[in-house]
């Protein structure tokens, strides 16, 4: 069974300790990557990998990434929903890893909605 080495674990424990306290104070933003069949076929996993890479590169500790299924707009996938604490969620469509990186620095971190890639602001209603 593959396991993290003791050395890795020690390093992780030291560097994460501070971050855990920060997280308890709430997240700055949540990025939801839509991963239905349609999303996956059009590149959602590459978008997911890009956002994880940005989080790592910039050492961001208060952004959560989650996945969800098809949102019913398959021809505009890959699609994500960005929710910043206390702000209405924004859906972005037709994404690529590069667009994802741009949205990450401008909106997720900077708070400025990237209108050119946005579909709509606010939650969808369920019937």
């Amino acid at each position: 069974m593959a396991k993290l080495s003791i050395e890795d674990l020690k390093k992780i424990k030291e560097s994460v300790r501070a971050a855990v306290t920060l997280r308890e104070g709430g997240y700055r933003a949540r990025v939801n990557v839509h991963m239905g069949t349609c999303g996956l076929a059009s590149g959602a996993r590459a978008v997911m990998t890009a956002v994880l890479d940005e989080i790592q590169k910039k050492d961001i500790k208060d952004v959560v990434v989650v996945t969800s299924g098809c949102a019913g707009l398959c021809n505009r996938e890959p699609m994500i929903t960005v929710e910043r604490m206390g702000e209405p969620p924004v859906k972005y469509i037709d994404l690529t890893p590069d667009k994802m990186r741009e949205i990450f620095s401008d909106h997720v971190l900077g708070g400025k909605i990237v209108e050119k890639y946005a579909l709509a602001i606010g939650s969808e209603t369920t019937f």
Binding site: M1, I12, G36, T37, L40, R45, V64
Partner: protein, 202 residues
Amino acid sequence: MRWWDDCINWESPDEDDPVPTVQDLSLHILDIVENSLAAGARQVEIRVEENISADRMVIEIVDDGCGMDEERAQKALDPFFTTKTVRRVGLGLPLLEEACRMSNGELRIQSFPGKGTRVRATFQHSHIDRKPLGNIRDTLITLMIGHPQVDLLYEHRKEGKTFSLDTREIKADLGEIPLDAPQVVSALRTLIQSGLEDLGAS
């Protein structure tokens, strides 16, 4: 000039903008496991077996989700059957079945209501139309980050060698540190990559 020429866009599709398709088996795995999670699974086992001498490849996904009755399990391979409410087609399992059939294999679904579902996809390993396995590392990382609360077991066998990973064990080792902490993700990525490379996974 024919009367319909104005109605049709004759331009050839842009090379950079191909028709979306589930390109490789690792994406199919991600897709099927997302089904398991939508069915409320708390534990998912993914097993990949590459048997070169018998020229077979088997991918098995076992979950403890809500399961399906016999009728529903049969309908699951019909693209026009879906439990979703957002649209009327569901392509996850039908597309995987197509990938199996294209490469001289088949897809079997066994499901028990209240207990879970087992999806078993087989392929002829050397078949020219067998999709490549693709990036298993990214599929596993995506699942772990997207659903850190779920217990995930991955086991990959090839030619007598095995790579396996159990997030329950990893979570136990991490203690109070979350599985989706960036440092953990980075270490896991390296761990999976080197494990799969040792195996020579294809």
